[in-house]
Structure formats: C-alpha cells, structure tokens
C-alpha cells in the first residue's frame, strides 16, 4: 500500500473488459488511491449509478476512470449523457479517460471536453497510480 490515507473515499471505473476492471480496482485499492472502487461494465450502468446518487452527492465517486472503447455507448457517449447531469454531480466527480487508443482524434476530443481532466494509457498500474497521487497531493495540498 502506497498510501495509508487515500485521498478518495470512492472512485468509479467504467470499462467493458473484466481484466481491466480487475486490474484497475486492485491497483487503486492496493496503492491507496481510494477506499472503495465502484466497477461498472457499461456507460449506461455507470450513468444509472450516478443518477441514483444525485440526491446524495456525498456518495458520488470523487474520480471516474472512463474507458473510451466500449460497445454500444462508448466513452464519448457517456460524456454526452454526463453533460446533462446536474452541476452538483459534475463538479464533484473528476473524470479521467483511460484507453489504449492511439487515435489522435480521440486525444483531441478528450482535450476539448471540459469534463476530462486527463488522458491515461492502460493499464492503470502502480506507476500511474503513484504519479496520480503525487499530482493530487500537490494540487490539493493534502
């Protein structure tokens, strides 16, 4: 465990691949990024979850790891719906795009979206978690 004091109570991972959800969850918990990890296997499932917590924003995940390529509704589709959610949700959650996509247009879209704070390449391994922690502590002054 890298961090005994995880900066987040809850984070969410949205990815259609089981292994990737597994890896993400394990590393997040193991290296102290968050206490709890909500794993959703589709954009719609994730959106439903968020919608269910509109009334109780303290239960919303502080960080959402979003895979781009998912069947039916992909990462950008999620974002389109996410935009329609109330401000309270959007200000609480920090969305990070997670992908193996090399497509520059994807990266452009990510840049242009105002809800995505950064783009990460899979896998969400220890090294990446470390760097995230570094940045988050820096930014939050924790």
């Amino acid at each position: 465990m890298l961090n005994n004091n995880p900066p987040y109570k809850k984070v969410m991972i949205v990815d259609d691949t089981y292994i990737d959800r597994y890896i993400a969850e394990r590393n997040i918990k193991k290296h102290g990024l968050a206490e709890e990890v909500i794993a959703k296997e589709s954009a719609s499932a994730a959106l439903s979850y968020l919608e269910s917590l509109i009334e109780s924003p303290e239960q919303l995940p502080g960080l959402i790891f979003l895979d781009i390529r998912m069947p039916e509704v992909d990462g950008f589709g999620f974002l389109a719906a996410y935009e329609k959610l109330p401000e309270s949700v959007k200000t609480t959650c920090l969305v990070m795009m997670l992908s193996t996509s090399l497509n520059p247009s994807d990266q452009e879209k990510v840049k242009q979206s105002k809800y995505i704070s950064r783009f990460l390449n899979k896998p969400l391994d220890r090294g990446k978690i470390e760097i995230l922690l570094e940045e988050l502590t820096k930014n939050n002054g924790i």
């Binding site: 292994i19 993400a24 520059p104 990446k128």
Partner: protein, 679 residues
C-alpha cells in the same frame, strides 16, 4: 638675111647686087639682131599692152577688194584697230567700236586711251600683265570686261599682233577686239554648273559611278568609295567589278539586264571587307550604233536598312500570320472564343471559336446584349447581366461561370471573363474577353469531387479500421501487463518474478511494435496536416506519458528548454511521434552505471527552421552503427526492448517534413540527436 625690114631696105639700096661674104655675114647678124629686136619689141609692146590691161584689171580688182575690205571693216562686229608705237597713235579703228564700246570712232580718235579707261578696274591688271609680252613681238590674246557706254558690263576678247622693226623695237600693234559676253556668260554658266555638278558629285550621299562594260570603274565619287568600304578612289578604281563586287559573278550580268528592263533595280553587292550591302541602282548604259555597250553609269543608293526593314517586316508579317493561325488553333483546342466590344460604335468582333461555342452562324448572332443573354439558362441570366453592367460602371475585370442552353436542349457550361480598356482620359473605350466551353472540365471536376469524397471516405474508413485493429490488439496486451504487475506484487518467489519479467518484456515489445506499425502506416499514408504547435505543451504531454513507462527504469531527469519566438505551424501528430520516439529512446538506453541519468531537450525556433536537440548521457551508439540505427527493424541486440521501428519512423517523419536529422554519439558517454525542420 632673114629680117624682112632689112631685106627690104637692102633691096631698096642694093637691088640684087651680090655682096661680099663678110658683108653678108654681117648683114645676117644684123638681120638676126633686128629680128630679135623686132620680136622683143613686139613682145615688149605686147607685154606693155598686157600689163596695162592687167594693170587696169588689177587696179579694178584691187579697188573691188579694197571696197569689199572696207565694207567688211565697216560692218564687221569686231573692232579692228591699229596703234602706232611709241606714239600710241591710233591709226585706225573700225566703226564696230561704237557697237562694242558704245562710243563712236571720233571719241577713240580724240581720246587714244579711251579703250583702256573703259576696262573694268579689276580687269586692268590683265592688260597690264600682258603688256610686256607685246614687246617681245609675240601675238597674244586676253579676255576682260569693259563698261559699255550704257553702263552695262561686257566681256571682250582682244587679239594683239605686235609689229617690230629691224631693231626689234615695237612700231605698231594691230588688234581685234570682239564682244564675247554671250560666250563668256555661257562659259561661266557652264563652269558654275560644272562646279555645282562637281560639288554634288563629291558630296552627295549616293554613289555615282561610271564603269566600263568589261567591269572596271572609270569614275567614282567619294560616297561610292565609302559605301563599298574602300579606302580610296584609286583602290576602288582598281577592282574587277565582276569578281570583287558581286557575291556571284553572274549576278552582274543579271543586274545589268534588269536595269534595262526596269530602270531601277535592287541587288546585293560585296563590300571590301566581304560584308554585304544592298543597293538600289538607277543607271543606264551607253551603247554605240551597233548596240554594243560602251559603258555603264548611274547612281547607287545604299538601301540595306530598307531591305533589312522589309525583310523584318515580311518575317514579322509571317510571324503574325503564324501567330494568328496558332491563336485560332489554340482557341479551337481550348474551346475558347474571344470577343472585343467597341463602346462607341457598340460593335462586337468575335472569333471563329466564339460562334462555334454558341453554335450560331455569324449572320444569325444577335446584335443586342439582351439577345445574347437569351443563349443562357434562365437561372443564370442575371449572372451575365450583373457582371457586364458592373464592369461598365467600375471598369474592373470580371469573370463568371454560367450555363448555355443549346438549340437541342443540351447544356453547356461556360467560363466567361472580361476586361476593360480605357483611354488616356480614363474613359471606357473597349471591352474584351473570352468565353470558354468548360463543359468537359466541369464534368471532370464533378467526377473528381465525387472521387475525392469517396477517397476521403475510404481513407477515414481505413483510418478507423487501423485504429480499431491496433486498439483491439493492444487492449488485451495492456490487460496482460496489468495482471503481471499484480502477480509481481503479490509474489516473493524470485523465479516467479524472473519469469514474469520475461513475459512482461515480450508483451511490451509486442505492444511497442503495434504502436510503431500504426504510426508508420499513418505517416506514409496521410497528408501533412498543419496546425499551430506549442512545443512546451507537446513536450509536457509526451514526458508525462513516458513517465508511465514504468518497469525497472529509474527516474531520468528530463530538462526541457524551448525558445519559441513566433508561432509555428506543423503536423502535430508527426512531431509528437518524432519527439516521443527520440525521448523514449534516450530514457530507455540510459547508462545504468552512472548516478544522474538525464535527457536534455532543446528546441530553437527561428524564421527559417525549427531545431530540435535531444541529448542524453546514456550508453551511446557505436560509430559504425550510427547510420544503421535508422534502418527498419534495426536493433542493437535481441535483448533490446524496442521494436526496431522507432528511429526508422523518426527518419520517415523527418523526410516527410523535408527536414534533416543527424546523430553524434560516444560509447559510454551519451548520444545527441540533431533534427532541423524547415518552416
């Protein structure tokens, strides 16, 4: 006894008496003498008679001659005079003096020096100069002017014959003075005209010549000498015309006979230096009664310039004709018709092709603008009208595309352009322009657009395909890496860890390879897409991503130094890959034995180029390999993690962006890459 007289006398006195012999002989002698005396006396008488007769005749004829002479003397126009020397007494002077001098004989007689006084002052010296000659007894003559009594000036000629005595002293002069005014005036006129002629001959610009039939100059003027490039008259007179003046000796024959026919002929001569001169010859030849040519004479004018100008004009005309033909051809080929409108007369001149395009006979073509507009598709008529009217106002060039509707209903696309021509005052005087049938071109354009759209579509489909494939290939790999790491963390068994390392490195290789293939495919296929580059941002992104390279790489100190004075446009994704590959290499090939591995990235942007330097203190590259590193699939060893495509791709990108790349390296010390990209 012969003499009859004596005989009679004898017979009278002596009868027939015989005489002594001596006495007979004596009588004989006397008889003969008497005979002779008688004969002589008769002759003498007779001659006296004759002389008297003759004398009378002579005297008569003398008188006649004298009368005739006098008549001559009195009536001849010349003044005869005689002067006795040394008294200077005028012995006689013929009455003609009144005619010539205006003064009668008496005047001359009373004033013996009158004749001298009447001589014009400036001519008196002529007389004075000849005065001494008189005393030598030689005859002479001189011409001088006298002032007639009526004040007119006359020219006279005086012939003087002096008579000397035995002591060679002059005793008398006889002379004749005649009025030679007419002759003299004629002479003067001739001399003047000769002088004029001479002056002209010497000074005129055209050459004057006289030449013999066998081809030698007899007379030439300075202009001719000059014209033909000879240094002197003698020089020119010495040449053989046939061989030296003509390029082709036979030309002379032709020239001579052409002259006869046309009077003036133009032909080419050869100057002394061999260069050609064109001359116009106005000449003629003189021939004898048998028609044989005696000599040629005439005037030669240098018309080289004129001939040249004529030739040039002919050439220009030919060229013009050719140009016009070519233009017509070109118009045909290009389906381009042209027109010119004269604003004043409102007349329009159109080229052949123009009528072809409108498929109208020249005679049928409407005169008015409105008639012209009817050729166009109803929806496009306003375009034509507006363009033309606008041009009339602002005198600016215009162009437009519009459709014609042909007689058979088919549509032609035309491109029209027009220009205004103004005069010096700025008024519109003419308009001219072209109409081009672009139906074919339009068709092709539409085809092309369709193709481009389709191509873009298939390109983007290909892109999508490539991305999908790469993504789908890489996703499982990243999952594998993720799980490997988890296992690594959970296990302590060394052998397991080792085995996991091996799996990991293989997976990473495969992953890298897929990325590189993808990048390569995009680099070679896609066009350069320019956008504004912010290097600081770009490098930040790259280094952030490279931080996640993870594994056993220690933290490498990355220093970034960007001097960006101005904005720069380039292909962002390619630059990204280029920098990424170079920097990741620098990190990957760090020197494990040193404490402070670093990568320095320096970017300099100037007006002409962008310079990128990436320097590391890694393990370096062997000298003999510095060229090979850019080869496809080149890897230092089987152990290396890279795909072998990284630097190959860098080189491909540099080439695509028209740049240059160089590498400096030393084993164990480090490597520097220098990239320059033009703006």
């Amino acid at each position: 006894m012969q003499n009859k007289l004596l005989l009679r006398q004898f017979q009278k006195h002596f009868g027939g008496e015989k005489l002594p012999e001596k006495f007979e002989t004596f009588l004989e002698i006397i008889s003969n003498s008497y005979d002779h005396y008688e004969q002589d006396r008769i002759l003498l008488e007779r001659s006296i008679e004759i002389s008297s007769e003759e004398m009378i005749e002579l005297t008569q004829s003398q008188r006649k001659t004298h009368d005739e002479l006098k008549a001559l003397f009195d009536n001849i126009e010349e003044v005869f005079f005689s002067i006795k020397f040394p008294e200077m007494q005028l012995l006689q002077i013929s009455p003609a003096c009144e005619h010539i001098y205006g003064y009668p004989v008496q005047e001359f007689q009373t004033n013996p020096t009158l004749w001298y006084e009447l001589i014009l002052d400036e001519d008196k010296r002529i007389i004075d100069a000849d005065y001494p000659t008189m005393f030598s007894g030689k005859s002479f003559s001189h011409e001088y002017r006298i002032r007639h009594k009526d004040n007119t000036i006359h020219w006279v000629e005086t012939k003087i014959k002096p008579t000397l005595d035995n002591e060679k002293k002059i005793i008398r002069i006889d002379g004749v003075t005649s009025d030679i005014t007419k002759r003299k005036n004629a002479e003067i006129a001739i001399t003047e005209s000769e002088n004029k002629y001479r002056h002209l001959f010497e000074n005129m610009v055209d050459g004057v010549y006289k030449s013999s039939h066998d081809g030698k100059f007899i007379e030439v003027n300075p202009a001719l000498v000059n014209m033909l490039g000879y240094s002197s008259k003698e020089d020119l007179l010495a040449i053989d015309i046939k061989s030296q003046l003509y390029f082709n000796p036979d030309d002379r024959e032709e020239a001579v006979y052409q002259d006869q026919i046309e009077g003036i002929s133009t032909f080419r001569l050869k100057k002394k230096d061999g260069s050609p001169i064109w001359v116009e010859d106005r000449g003629q030849y003189a021939s004898d009664s048998d028609g044989n040519i005696l000599y040629h004479e005439g005037i030669l004018r240098d018309v080289t310039e004129r001939v040249k100008a004529q030739e040039e004009l002919m050439i220009a005309n030919d060229n013009l004709r050719i140009s016009i033909d070519r233009l017509t051809e070109a118009q045909q080929v290009a389906h381009l018709g042209s027109w010119i409108l004269d604003i004043k007369t409102n007349e329009v001149l159109r080229s052949q092709e123009f009528y072809e395009i409108f498929d109208s006979a020249i005679s049928e073509f409407p005169d008015s603008q409105e008639g012209y507009i009817m050729f166009f598709h109803p929806d496009d008529r306003h375009i034509v009208r507006d363009a033309f009217n606008q041009a009339l106002i602002d005198h600016a060039p215009y162009n437009y595309e519009a459709r014609l509707v042909m007689k058979d209903g088919s549509i032609k696309n035309i491109f029209s352009n027009g220009k205004s021509i103004k005069n010096k005052k700025g008024e519109l005087v003419k308009m001219h322009g072209t109409i081009q049938d672009i139906t074919d071109r339009k068709k092709i354009e539409l085809e092309l657009e369709k193709n481009i759209v389709e191509l873009k579509k298939s390109n983007s489909e290909l892109d999508k395909f490539v991305y999908s494939v790469s993504h789908d290939l890489r996703a499982p790999l990243s999952s594998i890496l993720g799980v490997i790491e988890i296992v690594e963390e959970d296990t302590v068994e060394v052998s397991v860890v080792e085995h996991l390392q091996m799996i990991k490195s293989s997976v990473k290789k495969l992953d890298g390879f897929i990325s590189d293939i993808l990048n390569y495919s995009r680099n070679s296929r896609l066009e350069i897409k320019k956008e504004e580059i912010n290097f600081k941002e770009l490098l930040n992104d790259i280094t952030q991503n490279l931080k996640y390279m993870g594994g056993n790489n220690r933290k490498v100190d990355i220093k970034i130094n960007v001097t960006q004075e101005t904005t720069i446009q380039s292909d962002k994704s390619r630059l990204s890959i280029l920098l990424n590959n170079l920097i990741s290499n620098a990190i990957r090939y760090q020197n494990a034995e040193i404490q402070n591995p670093f990568v320095n990235i320096k970017i300099d942007i100037s007006d002409t180029e962008t310079g990128i330097i990436i320097r590391d203190n890694g393990i370096g590259i062997m000298k003999e390999n510095t060229e090979k590193i850019f080869e496809m699939f080149y890897r230092v060893s089987e152990e290396s993690i890279g795909s072998g495509l990284g630097l190959y791709l860098v080189k491909e990108i540099v080439d695509k962006l028209n740049g240059k790349i160089e590498v400096e390296s030393e084993i164990g010390k480090g490597t520097s890459f220098y990239v320059s990209l033009p703006r």
